[in-house]
C-alpha cells in the first residue's frame, strides 16, 4: 500500500495505491511525469513547449507527439461543444490546461496499470481515476463536493475502473469562460462527469460547464458518460445510469432531464 500526496502542476495530487508489492519505482515515475508535463505544457512558463509553440517558435516538425495529441484533443472538444470549450480565446494565448490535466492524469493511471497495479485511486485537484476495488466486493466511493460547502458532499458515486471529473464555481467563482463569447460561464454550479477515461470526463465537464444550462442535456447526450449537475437554482440533474453509493439505495433515481 502506498499513499502519496504532492503539489504538482499547481494541483494537489493524491495517490492511494492498495496493491501489495513494491511499486515505489512506478510511483516515482508517475510524479516525475507530472513535473515533466508541468514544465512542457504550462502556458505560464515562458520556456514551455506550449508557450514556444504559441509564440511560433516551434516548427511543425519539432512538435512532440504529446503536444500534437493535446492539440488534437483541444480541437476535437472545441468542435464537439460548438466552441464553448476553447483552448485559445480571442486576445489570449493558447491555454490547453483543461485538456492537459485529464490527459496527464489518465496517462499516469495507464503507467500504473502497465506496471501491474490493479487497485488505486488517483486524484489530481479533484479529478479522479480509479481502478479495481479497495476491498473485495466494494467499489471506490467518490464524494462529489457540495458546490456551496467546502467540507460537505452532495452525492457519493461508486467507481471501479473509471474516471470522474468535476468543473464548478466555488467560493472564488468560476474561471471557466464560455468560448463562444469569452465571458465567464453562467447557469451551472457544478458539473460532474463519469466516463471510462479522464480525458473524456474532464473535457466534457469543462465544456458542459462552459455551455451553461444547455450543457445539461448536451452532456447527458454524450455516449458512455453519466452526469451529475447542480444548476444555479440548486436543482440536481443526473443520468439514470449514474451509480450512487449504496447509502442512497432505495432512492428513486431521476432521469437525466427530470427535476
Amino acid at each position: 500500500m502506498t499513499t502519496r500526496v504532492e503539489q504538482v502542476m499547481g494541483l494537489p495530487i493524491s495517490l492511494d495505491l492498495r496493491d501489495e508489492g513494491d511499486f515505489a519505482e512506478v510511483v516515482d515515475d508517475v510524479f516525475a511525469w507530472f513535473r515533466d508535463v508541468d514544465a512542457r505544457f504550462s502556458p505560464f512558463k515562458e520556456d514551455s513547449e506550449v508557450s514556444r509553440y504559441d509564440r511560433g517558435e516551434l516548427p511543425a516538425e519539432e512538435l512532440s507527439d504529446d503536444l500534437i495529441e493535446v492539440l488534437e484533443l483541444c480541437a476535437y472538444y472545441e468542435q464537439l461543444s460548438g466552441g464553448a470549450f476553447r483552448a485559445r480565446l480571442p486576445g489570449r494565448g493558447l491555454d490547453p490546461c483543461a485538456v492537459v490535466k485529464g490527459w496527464a492524469v489518465q496517462r499516469a493511471a495507464d503507467m500504473l496499470k502497465a506496471e501491474g497495479a490493479t487497485t488505486f485511486c488517483l486524484n489530481a485537484g479533484g479529478d479522479v481515476v480509479t481502478a479495481g476495488e479497495p476491498e473485495p466486493g466494494r467499489a471506490w466511493r467518490v464524494g462529489v463536493r457540495h458546490p456551496e460547502q467546502p467540507l460537505a458532499v452532495c452525492a457519493v458515486l461508486e467507481s471501479r475502473n473509471g474516471a470522474i471529473a468535476t468543473s464548478a464555481a466555488y467560493e472564488r467563482g468560476s474561471h471557466i469562460l464560455d468560448g463562444r463569447d469569452g465571458t465567464p460561464a453562467t447557469g451551472l454550479m457544478s458539473v460532474t462527469v463519469v466516463a471510462g477515461d479522464l480525458v473524456t470526463a474532464d473535457a466534457l465537464a469543462t465544456a458542459a460547464f462552459a455551455m451553461g444550462a444547455e450543457g445539461i442535456t448536451w452532456a447527458a447526450d454524450r455516449p458512455g458518460c453519466e452526469i451529475l449537475i447542480v444548476d444555479d437554482s440548486r436543482r440536481m440533474h443526473r443520468t439514470a445510469g449514474l451509480v450512487l453509493a449504496s447509502g442512497e439505495a432505495g432512492h428513486p433515481r431521476a432521469s437525466a432531464r427530470a427535476s
Binding site: Q7, T130, R141, Q149, L151, C154, V156, A168, A245, S259
Partner: protein, 167 residues
C-alpha cells in the same frame, strides 16, 4: 465513546465575499435573493420566530443564532433530519463555520454552525439539500470537485482523507 476520531472546525470568513450582499434596502435583497416561501424545502426548519423581523443590523459578525447541537451524537440515525437554522437575518457580513465529524473512516456528521444569513449557502432548494443530507453519511475514499490551489486544498475534505490515509 471513542467513535469520534477527530473533529474539524473551520471558519471561512473570505467565503463571504461570494455572496456579495450590497448594503441596500433589505426588503429588496430579500426579494431578489430568497426563494418564495412556497419553495422552501420540506426538510428545512420552521421559520424561526425572528424571521418576521427582517433586518436587525447589518454588519455585525456576531452569530445571530446559537449553534444547534451536533447531530453526530445520535449514531445509527442515517435518517435523522439535519436541521439547518433557517433565519432571515440579513446582514452584510457573516461567518461560515462547518463542523465535520469523522467516526473511523466514516463521515458521521457535517454541521453548518454558522453561515451568511439568507445567503446562497442556506437557501437551498429541496433537491440539492436533500441529496447532500443523504450523502453525508456515506463512507468516502476520495472527493471529486476542483481543488485548484494549495490553499484550498489545505482546508479540503480531500486533505482530511489524505491525512487519514497516512496515519
Amino acid at each position: 465513546m471513542k467513535r469520534t476520531i477527530f473533529v474539524v472546525a473551520l471558519s471561512i470568513a473570505g467565503f463571504i465575499a461570494v455572496w456579495r450582499f450590497e448594503p441596500g434596502p433589505p426588503v429588496q435583497n430579500a426579494a431578489a435573493q430568497a426563494p418564495p416561501a412556497a419553495m422552501a424545502p420540506s426538510t428545512s426548519a420552521p421559520p424561526p420566530s425572528t424571521s418576521a423581523g427582517g433586518p436587525t443590523g447589518g454588519t455585525s459578525d456576531t452569530p445571530t443564532t446559537s449553534a444547534p447541537p451536533p447531530t453526530s451524537s445520535t449514531p445509527d440515525s442515517a435518517n435523522t433530519t439535519v436541521t439547518t437554522q433557517g433565519t432571515a437575518e440579513w446582514s452584510t457580513y457573516g461567518t461560515v463555520q462547518v463542523q465535520v465529524t469523522f467516526t473511523g473512516s466514516r463521515m458521521a456528521a457535517i454541521t453548518l454552525l454558522q453561515a451568511p444569513d439568507g445567503g446562497r449557502a442556506l437557501t437551498a432548494l429541496p433537491k440539492l439539500q436533500e441529496e447532500a443530507i443523504k450523502a453525508q453519511n456515506a463512507d468516502i475514499d476520495t472527493v471529486t470537485g476542483a481543488t485548484e490551489t494549495s490553499e484550498s486544498y489545505k482546508t479540503s475534505l480531500q486533505a482530511a482523507i489524505d491525512a487519514r490515509g497516512k496515519r
